[in-house]
Each structure stands twice: as C-alpha cells, then as structure tokens.
C-alpha cells in the first residue's frame, strides 16, 4: 500500500467517522478493518455454540491406539477427558469450552437477580444486612440477618402464622433463580394446595444465606419454612438450586435440623418434579412435626 492509498483510506475513515457524528459505535469496527487494509468480507453463518458440546462424548485425541474402547470408557466420567494436547498444553477448543463454563459460573455468582424478573414472579424484595455482593461474599454472618427495612416489610406484607412460609433467595447463583423459579415455585404451591395446606406470602431475599430462614421463621411464625436458594455454581451447571426446609426453625438451631433437596436444575432433578417432591416432604414434616436428621423420610 503506498502513501497515497493510505491517505485516501484515512480520509475516507475520517469522513465516515464524521458522518456518524455522535461517535456511532457501528462505524468503529468498519473503520478498523479498512485502516488495516483488509477486505471486510463478512460471511453469513454462525460458529457452532461450544457450550452445546457434550464433554462425555467429545474425543479429541489424534490417532488413538484403541480409541473406540476409550471413548466408551470415558463416557462413564462427567469430566474433561480425551481432550488431547498441543505440546504440553491444551487444545484451543477445550480451553474455550472451559472458559465458557467458568464465565457462566462467574456471571451467576457476581450478577444480581433481575428485579423485574422477581416482581414478575409475584414476589416482593427484602434484603439482608449485606449492602453489596462483596459484603455478601465476605461476611456470611450478615447474609444470615435481615435488614431493619426487610423485617418491617415482612411484618407489613406477609400473612401471619401461616402453616408454610416459602421464600426465594439468590444465594450464590442468580442464574439458578431465573432458570428454576418460574416452574419450581408454582409446582410447590400447587402441590401444597392439593394437600389443602395453608401457605404464607412468598417473597425474595437479596444477598441471602441459608441461615436467614431462621429469622424469617421466627418473624412469620410459620410452622414450616422453606427457602429456595441458588447453589454455588460448578462448571457442569451454574443453575443448580437447593431447597432447605425446616420445622419451626429458630435462630441458633443446629444445622442438622434442616432437610435439603439439592441439585434442582434442568439436567438434575427438573424444577416441576422437584416442586412436587418438596410439597410431599413438607406434608410429612407437618405430620411428624420434625425436620432434618430428626425426620426419617
């Protein structure tokens, strides 16, 4: 490229930039491509979604000695096996797959649940004594206590002394709340309604740890309290949810008094199924007047 061509390109770029007066974002990439002297031949099409790869069947080793046998064996492990190598490092595809999985986990932990979504589920929002995600992650004690405003809101809006109090908490995965609650919460409510069990006013706790259920149990005077909370994401799924359920929970009670239903997500126990199961557990809990290790299911 000679100097003249370059000048022409620069002039052209400047003209285009001016044309997009308020700094049009769309103009910038085009300008980059032209300045680099490349023909911007953008083709139609879409690169396949690397997160749709099933790591159990993926097999990237080149010229394996007994490939069929190993592919069959490795299918038994939900691990990143049979991934080959580039020197003593990873191939690019599995490296990107790993990063994609971790990005989902990080977004699930560090992003807040969308408040509009919460409201669309018919839930009002209360907060614990954590003022930020950072405080939430570093001060588990504050995530177990409601803010004064939260206490007031529950006192004002919730039905007093219900048989069962259900609420949702973000826990360590906002993605889990968005993925499971639309099916899970109605399934539990439906199940309890079928058993003619009285349910209190559900709500959402922001920055909530499992232990905040004890204060909520005391506040509402519920016989059984059930929290639906986002689990710490792994790389297999960032959407796993758990239900912690306790009979007459009190602040300071032993952890062993909680009954747990874990691994609720689309590739684990599916939300609708989990909802029915949770309603059954609550029914038994009310009959036996016990929970956790005191309750044999």
């Amino acid at each position: 490229m000679n100097e003249k061509d370059l000048r022409t390109i620069i002039e052209q770029v400047l003209t285009e930039m001016n044309a997009g007066a308020a700094g049009s974002a769309a103009a910038a990439p085009a300008a980059c491509a032209k300045a680099a002297g490349q023909a911007s031949n953008v083709e139609d099409g879409c690169i396949p979604d690397i997160t749709e790869v099933d790591i159990r069947t993926q097999y990237l080793v080149e010229n394996p000695e007994h490939g069929e046998e190993y592919a069959e064996l490795k299918y038994n492990a939900p691990c990143r096996l049979g991934i080959g190598k580039a020197g003593a490092r990873y191939k690019t595809l599995p490296q990107l797959e790993f990063r994609a999985a971790h990005s989902a986990a990080q977004d699930a932990v560090f992003n807040d649940v969308d408040e509009e979504f919460v409201k669309s589920q018919g839930l009002f929002i209360v907060q614990t004594q954590c003022d930020s995600k950072d405080t939430y992650l570093t001060r588990p004690d504050l995530g177990r206590k409601l803010s004064p405003e939260g206490v007031a809101a529950i006192k004002e809006k919730c039905k007093k002394n219900p048989t069962v109090q259900i609420y949702v908490a973000d826990g360590l995965s906002s993605a889990s709340v968005a993925a499971n609650i639309p099916d899970l919460l109605p399934a539990i409510l439906q199940g309890l309604q079928n058993y003619k069990i009285d349910v209190g006013t559900p709500f959402f706790v922001k920055y909530g740890r499992v232990g905040v259920m004890d204060e909520i149990s005391e506040l509402t005077g519920a016989e059984v309290t059930c929290t639906l909370i986002g689990e710490r994401p792994g790389l297999i799924t960032a959407e796993s949810m758990s239900a912690y359920i306790a009979y007459k929970a009190t602040v300071g009670m032993p952890e062993a008094r909680r009954t747990v239903v874990s691994n609720i997500h689309r590739s684990g126990t599916i939300p609708a199924e989990a909802g029915a199961h949770i309603a059954d557990i609550i029914k038994i809990m009310l009959e036996k007047k016990a929970s956790g290790t005191d309750l044999k299911l």
Partner: protein
C-alpha cells in the same frame, strides 16, 4: 519485649503477641471476618515493625493455644530440640529472616534450624517475607520423603493424580487415572476423594487402584482420602491395601475435633500402615490443610489464619509425612478473597511447610465464588515450582467434577517440568519412557492417549 512503635510519628501500641501476629499479616478476608486484621495499611506495617523486634523466644513463649489446653501445642513444643532452639532463641524475627535469606546460610543449616522452631516462630518470620522472599527462601530448602518412591529430590517435580468422580464410578475413575498417567501425572500419589465414605466403598476403591498400579507396574503410591479411621477399618476388615493414610488436619485440638480426629487416631493409623501396609515407607502419612479451617470451626482461639496454618505443619511434622498439601483456595472468599490473597497464601503455606521440615505440595485452586480464574491458578503453580514445591494436583483439565472447584490440570505439571527443566520422580520418569509417553523428560506425541491402557 516491646509491643509499641511509632509510624510517621503516630503511636501504635498492641496489647499482645497475638494481636501483633494477626495485624502483621498481609490482608486476608478471613482475618477481617475474625475481626483481628489491621484496620489500616499503616497499622499493618506498624505490627510488622513490632514483630521484627520480637525474639524467637518471645514467639515460642506465646503459643496460639495454651500448652495445658491443646494437644497440638503439646506436640509442637515437645518436638523441639532444645539445643537447637537455644542457638536461635535470642535472634529477633528480623535477624532470623535475614539469616534465612543470607547467601552463607545453606539448605542443611536451615533444616538444622527447623528442629528448633515452633510453628509460631515459623509463622512469625513468614509475616516479614515478601512474596519473592518466600520463593527465594523456600527454594533453598529441600525436604525428601520415601513411601514406595522418593519425592522431593533435586531436579524433580511431582503431581498427585486426582481422578475424582461424582458417583465413585470405577470405570469413570479408571478412565481418568489412565489419561492422567499418560500425561505424566501421579508420581506423588494417585489419590481419590471419595463421595461414598463407607468402609466397603473405600476398600473397593483402594483395591481397584492397587490392582491397576500393579498390573501396569506404575512406580507410585495410592490413597483414598476418607477419614483416617475409615481407611484403617478398610484395611483391617476387607484387607484393603494401604500405601499411606490420609487425614485433613487443623492447627488446634478443637479444629481437629471438627474433623473428628485426634493425635492418637493419627498415630494409630500410622502404626497400622507401618506394620500391615503395602508400602516401603518410612513416610506413610498424607495430610491436607488450608488457611481458615480453624476459624470456620471457631477453633482459632483469636489467632490469625497464617499462624493456625503453621501449627498444622507443626503437628504434621510429628508424623514425618510423605505428603502434605495446603488446599489453598478451596475454602472460599470469606477467608481468601481473590487471586492476590490466594497467591500470597499459597506461597506462605509452601514456605512455612518447608521451613517446618515437611514434604510440601499445594493444591493451587479456586471456587467459583472467588475472584480468580484459571490464569491466576496457572500463575500460582508457576511461582510454586520456582519456589521448589514438591508437587501440585492434576485433574482433567483442572475441573474437578466432584469437589466442584478448579485446580491444576493434567497438562500443568508436564508443562512446568519442561519450562523449569525438571523431571518426575526417577522411577516414574523411566516408566513414562517405557510406556512411550515421554522422551528425555518431554512428552511425546503419544502422551495423552489414555487408550494405550486398553490394549487387549
């Protein structure tokens, strides 16, 4: 002993050695959670200045938990060689730091000093070290140990193969063992964290690993990381082969109670393996530790997580273990907030373990609610090899599907060996060559092909 100093003309006065030790730590979320961290950056430096003037004798006389109340303290204090302690007791922590770093101080001189150091002395000097100091000093110290093979020899760097599985499925576990071995992992140990902690299941896994190891003549050792009494029972009831016994430990008696373990149980386990186990020995214990575990079980007695961690190593030393590793990023952001804190803790733990005189490795790892990613953990692993770490972990691509955390992958040890010119343990290195997985310490094209173990 003076507990007061001035910084920029401002007076800082501390009430106790405990307070100085906590505030002299580099910033850790766990110390903040405990309410014992320095409140300002300046106060942190003031505490370091005060600590630098304390003597090793002052630190020995202020154990984190009183001798009468705590069997860990008793082990640490009673194991001290008094003659050696007397050589060093009047040194200030500052002088001791410079002695460790001094060009005329040899590795042998440091190993000699180790025998006279309590864990509080080890933790104290650690707090005055920068990250590069920790690497520089640790690099001087070599600790070897022998089970079936010898770990820690100069020129070697090892890894634990960690073939964990969500349901302990034997086929899934073996698939992982095969791939790990084909990439040069597992010379330190092939060790499974079991999901099912029952004696029958643990015995079954131990037998399976041992059979595979014998069939392919892999020169290494195996372990299933259940509770120590479960492993012993698996051997006694079901004849499970034990090369070593594993146990998680804490730096106080109360912390160990939270793990359901006592000094006597560890001693019994060790005796059992030495008399009935399958390995040569004499080093047959494997311990895991990690900063923050004492606070999480309210067993820190008001002390900081670095000092409590050092006490784990003081306890471990009593049993002359084959392996000890800190699981440095597993505990979560309320103890180690981000990659900076995990990196610091990994280097501290490795240095303190070696200065205590134990064969030290590190599970450089992180959970998904920490501000860290795989790049950070690769950095830490690289720093640890520079510091002369005995071993790191190896799991498929660094993603442990069972423990739901990420650590170093099968490929990391191999890459780091190449970069630093290191080899696996000699017998294992020879085995790799025999299998065609490596040549002159470099992986071959065949490495990573686990299917070679499926030859009919």
């Amino acid at each position: 002993m003076i507990l007061k100093t001035k910084l920029f003309g401002h007076v800082y006065e501390f009430k106790s050695v405990c307070e100085v030790m906590a505030k002299a730590n580099e910033e850790k979320s766990g110390d903040k959670l405990a309410g014992i961290a320095a409140e300002t950056a300046e106060e942190r430096v003031a505490a370091k200045a005060v600590l630098s003037h304390l003597t090793l004798n002052d630190l020995r006389n202020n154990p984190a938990v009183p001798y009468e109340e705590d069997e860990v303290t008793r082990i640490i204090q009673d194991d001290i060689n008094e003659t050696i302690f007397n050589e060093f007791k009047n040194m200030t922590v500052s002088e001791f730091r410079e002695w460790l770093l001094d060009e005329s101080t040899t590795p042998d001189m440091i190993r000699h000093a180790s025998r006279g150091l309590t864990s509080e002395c080890v933790a104290g000097v650690c707090k005055l070290m920068s990250n590069l100091d920790l690497i520089y000093a640790a690099k001087k110290i070599r600790v070897e140990a022998h089970c079936n093979t010898t770990i820690g020899k100069p020129g070697t760097f090892s890894s634990r193969l960690q073939p964990n599985h969500t349901t302990d499925d034997p086929k899934g576990i073996i698939a992982s063992v095969m791939e790990g071995l084909s990439l040069g992992c597992g010379d330190a140990v092939i060790g499974i964290n079991p999901v099912d902690d029952s004696v029958e299941s643990v015995a079954r896994l131990l037998k399976m690993l041992n059979e595979f190891k014998n069939k392919w003549e892999v020169p290494t050792q195996c372990s299933v990381l259940a509770h120590i009494t479960t492993q012993v029972e698996a051997a006694e009831k079901f004849g499970a082969p034990l090369d070593m016994v594993f146990q998680s430990i804490a730096g106080s008696q109360k912390g160990n109670e939270a793990f359901g373990v006592t000094v006597q149980m560890i001693q019994d386990g060790r005796d059992m393996v030495l008399s009935k186990g399958t390995s040569t020995g004499p080093n047959v214990n494997y311990f895991e530790t990690g900063q923050g575990s004492e606070l999480s079980s309210d067993a820190h007695n008001g002390w900081d997580q670095v000092t409590m961690e050092a006490r784990c190593y003081g306890l471990a030393r009593h049993f002359q273990p084959f392996l000890v590793n800190t699981v440095v990023g597993f505990i979560g952001p309320e103890y180690l907030y981000d990659s900076k804190q995990v990196t610091r803790a990994g280097l501290e733990d490795h240095f303190m373990g070696k200065l205590t005189g134990i064969s030290m490795g590190c599970d450089a790892c992180y959970t998904n609610h920490m501000k860290a990613d795989q790049n950070d953990i690769e950095n830490l692993a690289t720093l640890l090899v520079a510091a002369g770490c005995n071993y790191i972990m190896g799991v498929p691509q660094g993603d442990d599907c069972m423990l739901m955390y990420q650590c170093t992958g099968f490929h990391e040890a191999a890459a780091l060996r190449e970069i630093f010119g290191l080899r696996p343990i000699h017998e294992f290195d020879m085995w790799m060559e025999k299998m065609g997985f490596s040549e002159n310490g470099k992986l071959t094209a065949k490495a990573g092909d686990a299917s070679v173990f499926l030859a009919k």
